[in-house]
Symmetry: C2
Subunit: 470 residues, 2 copies
């Protein structure tokens, strides 16, 4: 199979990597619903683990709400249902009966959770209420599907919070942004935050902050979002609390969510023509150990390789011993495709010299580690790989960003930055003529910006980013 | 609220505990689909963790298959569809369109997985194939629902394996039984294994082993099952492998699954009139710390309580500090309902004497632990609580088992054991006249048994158990 060049045709290259690395199987008999294979699921579970750690550490409680939502609850917030009407799955029959009330498979869980929040929140002492769940959601995607990036069953987390005041809710969005920075650090993934336009915000939101990352082809991929709802949902769902003065007030709400697109973004950002490069923190196997046999020493070498694997595992490093009956070269090839960040080799001469040979997946750099301090050595190199992946991805993102001042000659394959007066007319004019999407204004807002609207030339209070999207 | 006596009316008592302990919220607007609240979900996640450990340690790979199954795939195995036809949810519409092929929400995942297994298994080198997933499944239950025991969205694990031979598949069932013994140990839950009758086995199975536990009212609760499929599914789904002689053969398959009924069983087995008693291994909080304030010492006591909590947490013990502004007695009451296995109290005099006071939830026993070795002390007591819960539950189960020799005077509220010739006619006669269910013959089979069929008096090769079921 000939390799597809990453910069040549990103879409095909991406799907080829997903398939050859064994991250997902798209042959399931429903389009856009793929099977999570063991390797892909391990990587996703490692991502989930970091998400759980962050949410737990910030006093969010994990819950699990039912998958199905009665049509009657689903339709209570009018913008929300308008936004989702064309993309939900409907359960209409159970057993041999037609249901009295049709059920929606959750496309997101506002309308499942908020009738319960109305029961759970009574007084200001119940606030803030902070919960999250890690579940799959369902959207009847009509565009072409693509593993992890655009699927119909989506693995994601959603956190939902209720607060006494708008300011408290705003504080939550800032906490979300801090969590994001730590989670993205584990994935070596740069990103930027944009306050979405009015016509692009989440159905029912007061405002939406989109989390975007740039793919090597210059298109952006939205990996998640944070929403401030004010009282837009608490009013129809009647979520109120009694304040210190015994007055009943509606809570202010926020949500925050990111999906399996995080894994898609990692694949896009950190792979090369040899295959995937897994960031060490989420790699199912951080280290692969290849025994190098020569004549008559296979028992000794295999034993040394096993001890090495046990030694590393004992130190909390995810190590895989590849003791298959195959040539080392073909093993290298397999694990390079799958993106194991560090390869260790051990042969007769290494045993004699009390060393282990290594090869970095990201740079190809080779060297030796003292066998006696192999755990520390591996940890050090994995840390270097993480830093180097992050640096490389940041440089790539920056190289794709470009300031533009006029509508003539907007470059291809770039995320562009320009002034916008903020009016819908100019916004739509830009999007329609350029076939690009306005991602929004920077979050937090840029201080001291001064510029002109790229469409009408009026004063622009903030710059915006715009791009083609995946 | 008056407490319901456990032995009085088990059903009401059970629901009362579930509600007061905050394990589940049944006010969700679809009957039989309850909300997993933080406390219940933490307990279930701890159970899932042990399940994952066991399956990982026996080389099962975790996967995640799509929720929906096309009707065409679902109907390939004829007994299977007959068994599930009346209890599945149907998705018929997506967005504004009617679907060409209706989709089933998985009631279990054989028919989702096996079309993919047919692609994954090629040669004998691909065998055994062992995968599992921890997901929710959906069954349109028409009987009265009951939290964790009979619900319409069911949290469960399912492992699916493919083997070259019937014997290898049999070996898997034995491995499953070993895992079960370790998992049930963590839950302090006794159980027995019965080979189900022909008319009660899983739709499509060669044979089914049911896993049953006895509730305090003498009814049994099935908490899971293991199935040997032989080639019953691999034939319609065409899952074949090439053996060493290049011949194509159908794989032999097994499955194994247990559900959130494990948590229901724990509640039933280990609670008393004060509330729940959580087995220490799955308790969300293993220890609750109550600071005992007297005049002017609250800052000192609170600081000591915080240090104690941090000390225990640092040693991997799940400790909760209850620093609410409330009387100790009311805190005791709350945590007794929720079943925290060990309560620690720390007050001014304890600090002076360098001790911590404790009270066991299971026996009420009180005493002191040296503050300097509090971690070891707590671990020791938690271990004693586990042993004691298991012993108590075993004694309760044994007291409910009774050998019977004739159809006259079958006792109420008992699991009965008797000889059965094995013919369907006698089996049905027993079940219909006694309004009980035959659970099946012992697994593994009892050696050297000799007895007569309780119905027809003919020679019985094996005894059977029968009971009323939850």
């Amino acid at each position: 199979m000939s390799r597809l060049e990453k910069d040549d045709n990103f879409g095909d290259w991406y799907l080829d990597i997903v398939e050859r690395a064994g991250l997902s199987d798209k042959r399931y008999p429903i389009k856009g619903m793929n099977v999570w294979t063991p390797y892909g699921w391990k990587a996703m579970s490692n991502i989930d683990r970091f998400i759980r750690q962050e949410l737990d550490a910030t006093q969010h409680d994990e819950v699990c709400f039912p998958l199905m939502i009665p049509e009657t609850e689903f339709k209570k917030e009018k913008d929300h249902i308008k936004g989702f009407d064309s993309e939900v799955y409907w359960v209409t029959h159970a057993g041999l009966n037609e249901l009295d009330v049709r059920l929606v498979l959750r496309p997101t869980s506002e309308t499942a959770m908020y009738p319960m929040f109305a029961l759970w929140v009574r007084s200001h002492q119940d606030l803030p209420l902070k919960v999250y769940q890690i579940v799959n959601v369902f959207r009847y995607e009509t565009k072409q599907t693509r593993a992890f990036m655009r699927v119909r069953e989506i693995h994601f987390f959603e956190s939902h919070t209720c607060h006494a005041t708008e300011e408290d809710a705003q504080g939550q969005i800032d906490e979300d942004a801090e969590m994001l920075s730590r989670i993205a650090g584990k994935l070596c993934l740069p990103y930027f935050l944009s306050v979405r336009t009015e016509w692009d915000k989440f159905p029912g939101a007061h405002y939406t902050v989109g989390i975007d990352t740039v793919m090597p082809n210059g298109k952006t991929l939205q990996i998640g979002s944070m929403h401030h709802y004010r009282t837009n949902f608490s009013e129809p769902y009647e979520i109120t609390y009694e304040d210190e003065n015994s007055e009943h007030r509606h809570v202010h709400q926020t949500t925050y969510g990111m999906s399996e697109r995080l894994l898609g973004a990692v694949i896009g950002a950190h792979s090369d023509d040899k295959g995937l490069i897994m960031p060490p923190d989420i790699a199912p196997f951080q280290v692969v150990i290849i025994p190098i046999f020569s004549k008559d020493n296979s028992a000794v070498v295999l034993e040394a390789a096993r001890l090495l694997a046990a030694d590393l595992s004992g130190q909390g490093i995810r190590a895989k011993l590849d003791d298959r009956d195959a040539r080392p070269g073909s093993k290298y090839y397999d694990w390079e495709i799958r993106g194991v960040p560090l390869r260790l080799e051990i042969g007769g001469r290494d045993i004699e010299k009390n060393v282990v040979a290594f090869a970095r997946r990201d740079t190809g750099e080779k060297g030796q580690i003292e066998r006696g301090s192999v755990g520390e050595g591996v940890r050090l190199i994995l840390g270097m790989i993480s830093s180097s992946l992050m640096e490389r991805a940041r440089a790539s993102q920056e190289s794709k960003l470009q300031d533009v001042a006029s509508l003539d000659g907007i470059p291809e394959g770039r995320v562009v930055r320009f002034g916008w007066c903020g009016c819908e007319e100019c916004g739509h004019r830009f999007e329609d003529t350029q076939d690009m999407k306005i991602l929004g204004t920077p979050y937090p807002a840029e201080k001291g910006y001064s510029g002109k609207c790229i469409v009408c030339g009026k004063e622009a209070a903030q710059p915006v980013l715009a791009a083609r999207t995946m």
